[in-house]
């Protein structure tokens, strides 16, 4: 009997230790994941006009409307679906509606959401909302944004259900993501750079969150801090690198970049397309000095791109495929599509009229590391938002078959850009077909 007691004691001790470990990790987990609710405010505070106006211009820099406005007649009511590798997240209503919007949010609650990604009621927001960028904002700019949003018309628009893959539907897990990717250290200007450059750096990395798309993400969906502006993706588009790896066949000047950011159009460069269109629509409503500052900062990285010999300056239309081309049949199909569908507007030498388009040897999409953006442009065209003036390109998705689209991409890559052929073009064409 004595022996039996002795053998049980270490077991019991192990159990106690295990139990203690479980309790301690549960406690730590609770501390990491739990956030308190912040009391609802009963009435909206009053704001001065200057603060509201400043907030409006800052909201344009933040391109808040790109995600939070779906129907232009219902600004900031949310409801836009954003597909991520972890599931589909819907933007929410950020109008001051008390029930479905942020009407009950005090400035403290708004600030916590912007800096820490925590909703007023304490639940963790998904980082599709780029609080990991907004976290460094100056408090007076957060206050202006708060003033602007709290004075928008209140709209009734309940949040839509997100469709996350397991286990990402568990919001508390975001707390662990935050440990890795939410860097809350205060923003530091760079000594030795101009005030404009530093303003641009502050805006680009934080409020404008350029790096959210133009810097690659890790497999966990966080910013890959080591590869600043090295190119990423957004909504199935390749997002160009803005550092020394920038694919543009024609070097950007700072002036052209500033023009592009305000209008989506710059001489000898492709027009803004895909997710960048919404950015430009917002930036043109921003403080022009801020947009200039962003251009100054981004251009300091673009300027690191080495001088390259490209075909961008090649005169004339794109050539017919060489008779000894190893992929002749596909190249001939691609050339036929180019000649009959694209060259009508894109051929060189066309007068500068409303129908004149960029010669394709200058189009950056041909020089991207993968064909996704080119295929999107061909299939979906470029269309301005409702009621807005902008460049227009018709969509060819209903005209060209998958084979023709793939062959066109392969032809343009070889005879337009003269770059090593892309792999997996056909897969990219199929993927672009999925909504």
């Amino acid at each position: 009997m004595d022996r039996a007691t002795r053998t049980r004691t270490p077991k019991r001790r192990t159990r106690l230790i295990v139990l203690a470990l479980i309790v301690v990790s549960a406690l730590i987990g609770w501390i990491i994941m739990w956030r308190p609710a912040i009391d609802a405010q009963a009435t909206l505070p009053a704001f001065d006009q200057a603060s509201i106006a400043r907030g409006q211009r800052l909201a344009a820099i933040g391109t808040c409307a790109a995600c939070h406005t779906v129907d232009p007649s219902r600004p900031y009511a949310g409801g836009r679906a954003l597909a991520t590798p972890f599931g589909t997240v819907h933007s929410t209503n950020i109008t001051p509606d008390a029930r479905t919007g942020i009407g009950q949010w005090s400035e403290a609650a708004f600030t916590r959401a912007m800096r820490e990604g925590v909703s007023r009621d304490g639940h963790l927001l998904y980082p599709a909302f780029p609080y990991d960028h907004y976290t460094h904002l100056a408090q007076d700019e957060i206050r202006s944004l708060y003033a602007y949003f709290m004075t928008r018309p209140a709209l009734d628009a309940p949040a839509q259900k997100n469709d996350m893959t397991f286990p990402f539907g568990l919001r508390p897990l975001v707390a662990f993501w935050n440990i890795l990717y939410l860097k809350r250290d205060p923003w530091q200007p760079s000594a030795g750079q101009s005030a404009e450059w530093n303003r641009g750096a502050y805006l680009s990395d934080n409020l404008a969150h350029c790096t959210a798309c133009h810097t690659p993400r890790t497999r966990l969906g966080g910013t890959d801090f080591k590869r600043h502006l090295d190119g990423g993706e957004a909504e199935g588009w390749y997002v160009p690198a803005l550092n020394e790896h920038n694919p543009s066949p024609i070097p950007w000047t700072r002036e052209h970049l500033a023009e592009y950011l305000r209008t989506g159009i710059a001489p000898d460069h492709a027009v803004a397309g895909g997710p960048m269109q919404a950015t430009v629509e917002n930036l043109r409503l921003a403080d022009p000095a801020d947009v200039e500052a962003i251009a100054t900062y981004i251009h300091s990285y673009l300027a690191k791109a080495p001088q390259r010999q490209t075909r961008a300056g090649m005169p004339g239309s794109l050539p017919v495929p060489a008779a000894d081309d190893p992929d002749l049949a596909r190249m001939q199909l691609g050339h036929a599509v180019y000649a009959n569908s694209c060259a009508r507007c894109h051929e060189v030498g066309r007068e500068a009229t409303s129908g004149a388009a960029l010669p394709l040897q200058k189009a950056v999409a041909l020089y991207d590391p993968d064909p996704r953006s080119l295929i999107h442009i061909v299939r979906d065209g470029i269309s301005p938002p409702d009621g807005e003036p902008a460049r227009w390109m018709p969509a060819f998705g209903a005209i060209l078959s998958d084979d023709q689209t793939g062959a066109l991409a392969a032809y343009l890559r070889r005879y337009g850009a003269g770059q090593p052929q892309w792999t997996h073009i056909e897969d990219a064409v199929k993927k672009a077909r999925q909504p």
């Binding site: 007649s73 009959n340 569908s341 507007c345 129908g355 209903a398 005209i399």
Partner: protein
């Protein structure tokens, strides 16, 4: 010259022409279907819009060689002057045409929307019709006509 077999408004046609001939020219010059109009020839205005495999396309940008077996629909397939189709009746009721040059294209773009989405919202109609331009400025009447045609349609899958 190559022979192309086209199915237009439910009828089969054989046409001898060059592969790069725009579908618009084949419809007008070879088949005598003059509903689709030549506007800009650059896919910018939409006067030449027809349906191809149920999707609206600008036929000036479609080389005949890419059509294949996909059926083509033109305004002539919607009805006749004596017996206008539902969409045409709606355009007449709203008096949506001024000079009328863009209207065949407008109707065909609207047709492709209503075939897929018989109950579009006003925002969906605006978004879908956006590529087609009317220089007389009857856009508001055109939008009303599409709305009227949609409202006259039975809801898709509605129980009798």
């Amino acid at each position: 010259m190559t022979t192309y077999h086209l199915r237009v408004n439910g009828r089969d046609h054989a046409v001898d022409t060059d592969p790069d001939t725009p579908l618009l020219y084949v419809l007008r010059n070879d088949l005598g279907l003059n509903g689709a109009k030549f506007g800009c020839g650059l896919g910018q205005c939409g006067a030449c819009t027809v349906t191809l495999g149920g999707e609206s396309v600008m036929s000036c940008l479609v080389p005949v060689s890419v059509v294949g077996e996909r059926p083509v629909g033109t305004v002539e397939g919607l009805g006749t002057a004596q017996a206008p189709g539902a969409l045409q009746q709606a355009f007449i009721a709203e008096q949506a045409a001024q000079c009328g040059y863009c209207i065949a294209g407008m109707m065909m773009r609207a047709q492709s929307l209503l075939e897929k989405n018989p109950k579009p919202s006003d925002a969906e109609i605006r978004k879908h019709m956006m590529p087609n331009l009317c220089r007389c400025g009857t856009h508001m009447r055109i939008l009303r006509a599409v709305r009227r045609a949609a409202d006259a349609l039975p809801a898709k899958g509605a129980k009798a």
